[in-house]
Structures are given as C-alpha cells and as structure tokens.
C-alpha cells in the first residue's frame, strides 16, 4: 500500500488537501482535509443581526449571493416578514445569475482543463481537446470569459456589483426595476442565451432540457461531431473515459428546494435515499465533529445550538470541516441532487442506470444552466415596475430564524439566534460541508471520501487524474466548507 497527499488541490474554490491510500492501482481510502479556518461564526457573535448580511457573503467570493440569500432568509424568518413578489423575483434573478455563472466557471475554468493534461497526450483526441480546453491558454477560456462577464451585467444592474452585494434583504430587494431596466434584462439574457446555444450547447436550450434518458442524450450527442459545442465535447470525453462509472458516493441526496416564489420552489426539495423519496425536516440535521479540529468532539449538535470553537490539537481531527448528517446519514448535495429530487427524467434515468457519477454530476450542472436560463426569462416578464420591491421590518430582541436555500453547489443553511437584539449564535452549513465532510463518530466517510474509493491510479501518477475528475465533479467550494 502506498500513501499520497494531493495538495494544494487547485481549480477548486479555496484550500483542499486529499490524502489517499492506494493499493493495487486503486484508491482504497481517502481522507479529505479543509486546511483553512477563519472563524466567521465566532466573528458574528454579538453583532447587530443585520450585519450578518455584510459578513456572511464574504465567507465566499464565488457563492457570495447564496450566502446573502440564506442570511436574508434567516433574518426574514426572525423578523416574521416575507418580501413582496417583485423583491422575491429580483432576489431570485440575482441568485440565479450567480448560480449559472458558477456552473459555467466550474465547467470551463475548473473541470474541463483536466482533459488537457499531458497524461492524456497519447489519446487520439488530445490535440483538439488541448487547443480548446487547456488551462489559461485554451480557446474556450477566451470565449467564455467575455460572455460570462457580459452575463454578469445582470448582477451589475440588479445587485450593484458582484460579488458582495447588499441588494438582497429580508424584506426583498433594495433595487427597484423600471420598465427600461426590465427591457435591458431581457436583452442581456437573450445575448447570453445566444452564447450558450452557439458555443456551449451548439443547440437550442430546449433541445437539451427536453432529453428524457441517457439514450436520448447519446443520440443528441451523436447528431454532431465531438467538437461541435463544448457540452458535446464533454459528453464525448466522458464516454471515451467511462466517466459514468467513476465517482459513486452514498446514493443519498438532499435538496432544500431552489428559488422559492409564492411559496413554491422552482426546483423542489426533499430527500432521496437509494431511489426512495421522503420529505426533508431541518430538525433531522446534526453536526458531528468527531474528526474535526474542534472542541467538544464527542458532542453532535443541531446547528441552532451549534458551536464552532477551533482546537488545533484535537487528536482525532484531520480537517476543520464538520460532518453534518441527516438522520445520521451522509448526504450528497448539488445540482445532481437538485435535478434528481426535482424529478428531471434525464438525470433520474442516468442515476438509475449507472448510479451517481462524475458524468451525472456534470450533466446535471449543464442541464441546470439551460433550465435556469429558461426560468429567468419567465421571471423577468413577471416583474411589475411600479409595484413594491421591499418591505421594512424591525428586528425583534429575541428571535430565531433559519435560511435554507440552494447555492450552485447545493444545500446551504444559516441558523440564527438573536438575544437582546444581538446575534447570540450563528451557524452555517455549506454545500461542500456536506459533500466534503470527514468521517463521523461511526467511522462513515463523507460523500467525496466515499466517491474516491476505487478510483483508478495509473502507473507513475503522483496526482492521479481520476482523483482530479472525481473531486472536481463535486465543484467544491472550500471557503464555504469551513468558514
């Protein structure tokens, strides 16, 4: 058996280290370490509750709006208010813009460059893939960056800037939209759609959204050459490298439900365990800290009563990350979980045929780009200029509230307790806290740790490429994971 430590593991957001035990050209055990601790939960103690809207987005520069949305939702619950429809729509549009941009950033900047690594140089497809997707130098980067930047004008218009806006508030949006701005939103989104349909999908978005099975996906792919559209290129590479059989994890999925509007989520939430759906209750969450560098390692707590006090000397710890569990079980969160639980037939078929995988995670993300842009088109039409965008409420001296939302990378929760008008406790469970959690007290590895078991290792590989694909298929955000 050999041991390898892979780190710094880049092209993920933040700092990541993965320790591997390898036997017979396979990973047998994996240990995932989040190496950075900043202490946001400590920083927030005693603050004016509204200040959480300034601090929590700065947990993460790539999920900044998601953090803000969760914080605003928690505060709204504590204040007992809900935003007017316009406020909800603007908030959803800003969040959707971030989520779509994040999916695109992941696909082009984080994930695809691994296929241009020299380990693949003998493959027949290597030359054109390298030209297109090579990190920094690939032609895809040069296509994607300007298109992404222009798409982010939606955030500029509605949120003032991205990242780190304050537009999303418990009472709605600080930005009201007039008719001309509504027209501008239409224009920006249609320009982005052009880019997606020309460069990313090389097909109308609807043609991808309407796919119902893996077979239909294969047919869609084979309609054109592998280099006709970057999604097709990925699907080609995935079939060449058998990525549908790589990276299976726990078979248990969680989604809080995304983009609430009039009490209804656009992507519905729930729990899916080994093919069986059940409803989600936040009461079922406990955070195990037996393998984290944190105090009180033997006590699991619900986040309302959570404690986050670092202890670098904690002997059983190997990461700063807690291990959240739902009814004691490891959950996978993210676009795959969301699209499965929402019941999209393509994703359901892929997972029921081959289980969750690198391929399924990436396809779910791509699908979500298309579905979300179509939703955004509808939301823009639903904006009613002249009607209210924001209501104001005062913060009670004693209250609590939870903000459970879906970020690009999955389920994000904020739990806030207010006492004497100040924050008494504030705890955050981020998507990658779920996915990249360490072992719990029962010794059960987290989702990524499970997904890495059995990953193939090629002769002489120091940083196994299969491990690169599997880790990045989760689109981890390490600055969120430990905050």
């Amino acid at each position: 058996m050999t041991r390898r430590i892979v780190g710094p593991f880049n092209r993920v957001e933040g700092d990541l280290e993965v320790r591997l035990e390898i036997n017979d050209s396979r990973v047998t055990e994996a240990f995932v370490t989040s190496t950075l601790y900043r202490g946001f939960e400590q920083i927030l103690q005693g603050k004016d509750p509204r200040d959480a809207l300034v601090y929590t987005p700065r947990i993460c520069g790539i999920c900044s709006v998601s953090q803000l949305s969760a914080s605003a939702t928690a505060l709204a619950e504590a204040q007992g208010i809900s935003p007017p429809p316009n406020g909800r729509i603007v908030s959803n549009l800003i969040l959707a813009t971030e989520n779509v941009a994040d999916h695109l950033t992941h696909f082009y900047l984080f994930f695809m460059p691994d296929f241009a690594r020299s380990i693949y140089q003998d493959e027949a497809w290597f030359d054109w893939v390298e030209t297109r997707f090579k990190a920094v130098h690939g032609t895809a980067h040069r296509d994607m960056l300007p298109a992404r930047a222009e798409f982010m004008h939606i955030a500029g218009l509605l949120a003032g800037k991205w990242p780190h806006t304050l537009t999303i508030q418990p009472g709605g949006s600080t930005k009201s939209v007039n008719k001309a701005e509504k027209a501008r939103l239409r224009g920006l989104l249609s320009s982005f759609r052009r880019f997606l349909e020309r460069v990313v999908f090389n097909a109308p978005l609807e043609s991808f959204v309407e796919l119902k099975s893996k077979q239909e996906l294969d047919n869609w792919r084979l309609k054109s050459a592998p280099m006709d559209g970057d999604v097709r290129s990925f699907l080609f590479l995935s079939s060449e490298l058998n990525l549908e059989n790589m990276g299976a994890a726990s078979g248990r999925f969680l989604s809080y439900g995304a983009y609430l509007n009039n009490g209804v989520a656009s992507f519905k939430g729930g729990v899916l365990e080994n093919g069986k759906m059940s409803s989600f209750s936040p009461d079922d969450i406990l955070e195990d800290i037996s393998h984290a560098w944190l105090e009180d390692g033997d006590i699991s707590r619900h986040p309302y009563d959570g404690r986050t006090m670092p202890d670098a000397e904690q002997k059983s710890g190997y990461t700063w990350c807690k291990a959240p569990r739902l009814r004691g079980n490891v959950m996978e969160v993210g676009a795959l979980a969301r699209q499965l639980i929402d019941g999209h037939p393509l994703i359901q078929d892929m997972v029921s045929e081959a289980g969750e995988s690198v391929e399924a995670r990436v396809v779910a993300r791509i699908l979500e780009v298309a579905r979300t842009v179509l939703l955004m088109e509808r939301w823009i039409e639903d904006l009613q200029p002249g009607e209210p965008f924001h209501v104001t409420a005062s913060t009670p001296d004693e209250a609590q509230g939870a903000g459970l939302i879906e970020a690009a990378r999955g389920s994000l929760g904020h739990w806030l307790k207010i006492k004497n008008g100040r924050i008494e406790n504030y705890q955050v469970i981020a998507p990658t806290t779920w996915n990249f959690s360490p072992r719990d007290a029962n010794g059960t590895p987290g989702a990524l740790e499970q997904a890495l078991q059995n990953a193939p290792v090629r002769a002489g590989e120091k940083d196994p490429v299969s491990v690169q694909h599997i880790v990045r298929s989760f689109d981890p955000c390490m600055v969120c994971t430990v905050h």
């Binding site: 780190g7 092209r11 920083i43 700065r58 930047a149 500029g156 940083d463």
Partner: protein
C-alpha cells in the same frame, strides 16, 4: 521595453490565496475590454500559477515553488489574495499550505522576499479585512498593515526587490480594472512609489472618492435623504453611506458593466478603507450625535457642513423630497420648455 510600452521579456506572476473568500479573483475574471487573460497577454505577464486558473496541482505546483526558491524562475509579481493567517498563537496552523507541513504565512513571507513586486489583492491582504473582524479569531493580518497599524506579516520596512513596498489594491472585492490597470503599470515599469498613497494604495484609485459621480448627487446636495433601503434619496444621513469618506472610483467607473453599491440601492460601507469591517455601528445605519451624522466628509469643517446642510434642506425642491423616500420616480424634473399644458 517594446513599442507598446510593455516588458519585452515576460514577467512571471504568481498568485496565492490565504485567509479570504476568493472574491477578488472572481471579481477580476469579470474584467472586460479586455478580459483578464487577454490583458495579461498584452502586458507580457506570464501567469506562473493561479489557484483558480492554472493546470498545475499538487506536485506540479510544488515544482514551480521549488524552481522559484532555487532562483531558476524569476518572480516578477507576487499577488496575495486574502489575509495572512497567523493564529492560533502565532503558529499559522489555521492555514497550513495544503499538501505540506508548512504554515501558509511562512510560504508567503519566503516568496515575498524573492519577488520584484508584492501586491495585496483586496482589503484582506492589505489590512486584514473582514477576516480580522470581531475578535479576529484566526489572527488575520495584512501583508504590511495590521488593520490600521503598519506592520502586518512583512513589517513596515519591507521592500520588495524593486524597492517598492507592498502595493495595496484594497476593496472588498477589488474592481477588475483596479487589478488590471495596476498590474499593467507594474509590467510596463512605470509604477513608482509616488503612485502610492499613505496606505500604499495606488493613488489612481484612492485619489477619488466613491461620492464622485454618485448617481444620487442631487439628493445629497439638497440633503433629501432616503429613510429606508430601496428608497431613492441620499443614504448618508440615515443609512450609513460612507461614499463621501471612502476612496474609490466606484461611481465614475461602473461595476459589472453598469452598477455600483449605490445604484444597487445600498450604502457604501467603505470597503476600500482599513478597518471597514468594524465600523462601530450597524453597517446600514448612520450613527448620530444630537441628530447630526458622525461621519461627515473628512476634510470639511463640521460647522460649515451643518450650516450648508440646513440651508440646502430648507431649499429642497418638492420633487426631490418626494422622490427621496419613494422606490421609483414619483415627480419628474420640470420640462419648462414644453409649450401648452399637458
């Protein structure tokens, strides 16, 4: 120098992240006209390694570091994004460099000594930033400032090999053009110590106030104030806006093509200033003494400000008074050239 003013041989730039959120990188890749990578190409900046963008990971990254340490690769620009994490108790254990047994703060100090230029990307790297908020649980500090005190990781006297101190591009996040324009000046060799202010921030940015070009300037002039978020009036009197005190060209150069905090409907929180993370009051509330805002424009006599404010308040047109507390324009400016009554 080449005809276009940039270095003939490429300048190697290494970008590291520590106690931050990655948001300065994410902001930087929103650069437009040109995009970030094209800007680097044009300036002959060779991106030696960047955590978000580069291929190298694990061993291949460590090979780059070793080559820099062995002087086989000359380091032209070292960028740090995020604060330097020194805790607990000065050990730096709260951020060990992934894949090794070394505290990130030691890697940063080692590389800073080898680089021609050292650039702090964002308020965290410059001063400590939000990570240094509250009781600063992680021992966060800036490269050459600890919040407002000179020092930080490298100390007040630190000079990079070029002779320049750490260049602090503050902001939370940085504007992409602050990044590209500063780096391009460095690459062309015409960035000097005279281009830095007292906080070692590029004067090109800090010579301006967020207030300049504020789209709510007319409300400011007449002290027609918004009372709640989402209202159109000036946010200085009630909602904590620090645009008149904070440096930055946020309202003369738009963010994400079109915006600023003010156009987004929320106040400037002075994110370019050291210590912004602990304002001593709620961010969206203006602290007042006897009804007068505490944080007035820094270089204006208070009595004059109060006198002018009461004068302009008395002269406020109805249009501004009404619009200031509405979420959309309720009274349009008069168009007195129009003949005939509508």
């Amino acid at each position: 120098m080449t005809a276009n003013g940039f270095a003939k041989t490429s300048i190697n730039m290494l970008w590291l992240q520590s106690g931050g959120c990655g948001g300065c990188t994410l902001s930087a890749i929103c650069a437009e006209a040109p995009d970030l990578l094209t800007a680097f190409d044009g300036a002959n900046i060779n991106l030696l390694w960047h955590p978000t963008l580069s291929e190298e990971t694990g061993q291949s990254f460590n090979d780059i570091l070793d080559a820099v340490r062995a002087r086989k690769i000359e380091l032209g620009i070292l960028c740090l994004e995020g604060s330097v994490i020194t805790g607990p108790n000065g050990t730096g254990r709260f951020h060990m460099m992934s894949g090794g047994e070394v505290a990130m703060m030691d890697v940063i100090a080692e590389l800073a000594a080898l680089s021609d230029h050292v650039v702090a990307m964002g308020s965290c790297a410059a001063f400590g930033g939000v990570t240094a908020g509250g009781g600063n649980p992680s021992g966060a500090t800036g490269l050459a400032f600890d919040v407002k005190d000179p020092g930080g990781l490298l100390g007040e006297k630190f000079r990079a090999k070029s002779g320049l101190p750490v260049i602090n591009i503050s902001g939370c996040p940085v504007h992409p053009a602050w990044v590209t324009e500063t780096l391009l000046q460095i690459a062309s060799g015409d960035f000097t110590e005279h281009d830095l202010d007292v906080w070692n921030r590029p004067k090109a940015i800090s010579d301006k106030l967020v207030h300049h070009g504020c789209s709510r300037n007319e409300y400011y002039e007449f002290k027609a104030s918004a009372e709640q978020l989402c209202e159109l009036g000036c946010m200085m009197e009630h909602l904590g806006c620090k645009g008149t005190q904070a440096c930055g060209d946020c309202n003369t150069r738009s963010w994400n093509g079109t915006g600023s905090c003010i156009t987004g409907g929320y106040p400037c929180i002075a994110c370019t200033e050291p210590g912004f993370e602990e304002p001593g009051h709620a961010f969206v509330e203006t602290p007042k003494i006897a009804g007068i805002p505490v944080g007035l424009p820094t270089d204006m006599p208070k009595a004059w400000f109060v006198a002018l404010a009461s004068l302009s308040k008395a002269a406020t047109p109805k249009r501004l008074r009404k619009n200031a507390t509405a979420d959309h324009i309720v009274i349009s400016p008069n168009n007195n050239k129009r003949r005939g009554k509508r």
